[in-house]
């Protein structure tokens, strides 16, 4: 496919369980971003990756959140010991340019996480 894909599209889990969310960026895109969007809210930055540089993790809300990316390919966002306040849509985006003229972010459809 030509776009950013995310899986699963929906995830329901019980409080205290760990979850993994996956993002497949557009091939060749060097930058990858994760956001959280609570119901009726804007996008909350979580983390971004750029090539082999150290990721900017400044938006991760707690040490229960972590993310990995191998090279310029797929990324996984892991939430450990999920809490009800983690319920949200998690959006992934990728972009081609980075450091150049305002690279457009291409967004995936998101994963809706519900913690019971």
């Amino acid at each position: 496919g030509a776009g950013v894909s995310q899986s699963p599209s929906n995830k329901v889990t019980e409080k205290g369980k760990d979850v993994e969310l996956r993002c497949d960026p557009i091939s060749g895109h060097t930058a990858l971003y994760w956001y959280r969007q609570r119901l009726g809210q804007g996008l909350e930055f979580l983390i971004y990756f750029q090539g082999n540089s150290a990721p900017d993790k400044s938006g991760l809300p707690s040490d229960r959140f972590s993310a990995e990316r191998t090279g310029e390919s797929v990324s996984t966002l892991t939430i450990q010991r999920t809490q009800q306040e983690d319920s949200a849509v998690y959006l992934c985006a990728s972009s081609l340019e980075f450091g150049l003229a305002g690279g457009e972010q291409f967004f995936g459809p998101g994963t809706r996480l519900t913690v019971l």
């Binding site: 804007g42 996008l43 003229a101 305002g102 972010q105 459809p109 998101g110």
Partner: protein, 115 residues
């Protein structure tokens, strides 16, 4: 730290009419980029328009145009000849041209288009 403010949680417009969505931001930087993104009910975010801060000319994309006032730190989006398909959440976003490349998003404006 940079902030982006969208003061209109919801707006309505009649089909074929014009509507303007407001966005203000705060930054001490001189080089940056501003964006408007659209998020329809399907929740797939789509770029509507982009503005480079060093450009004085306002960006336009077909029926979409911006009014960029750098001194006032204002970046409004005008939608002309509104169509039913324009109904969505609209987010204003900021990104520095140097240093951190995080995008800062506003809280969004829900646009309703009335037939």
């Amino acid at each position: 730290a940079q902030t982006v403010t969208q003061s209109q949680p919801e707006m309505s417009v009649q089909e074929a009419e014009t509507v303007t969505l407001s966005c203000t931001y705060d930054t001490s930087e001189s080089d940056y980029y501003l964006f408007w993104y659209k998020q329809p009910p399907s929740r797939q975010m789509i770029l509507v328009i982009r503005q480079e801060a060093y450009k004085q000319q306002n960006a336009t994309e077909n029926r979409f145009s911006v009014n960029f006032q750098k001194a006032a730190k204002s970046f409004s989006l005008k939608i002309s000849d509104s169509q039913l398909g324009d109904a969505a959440m609209y987010f204003c976003a900021y990104r520095s041209a140097k240093g951190s490349y995080k995008y800062i998003f506003g809280t969004g404006t829900r646009l309703k288009v009335l037939a």
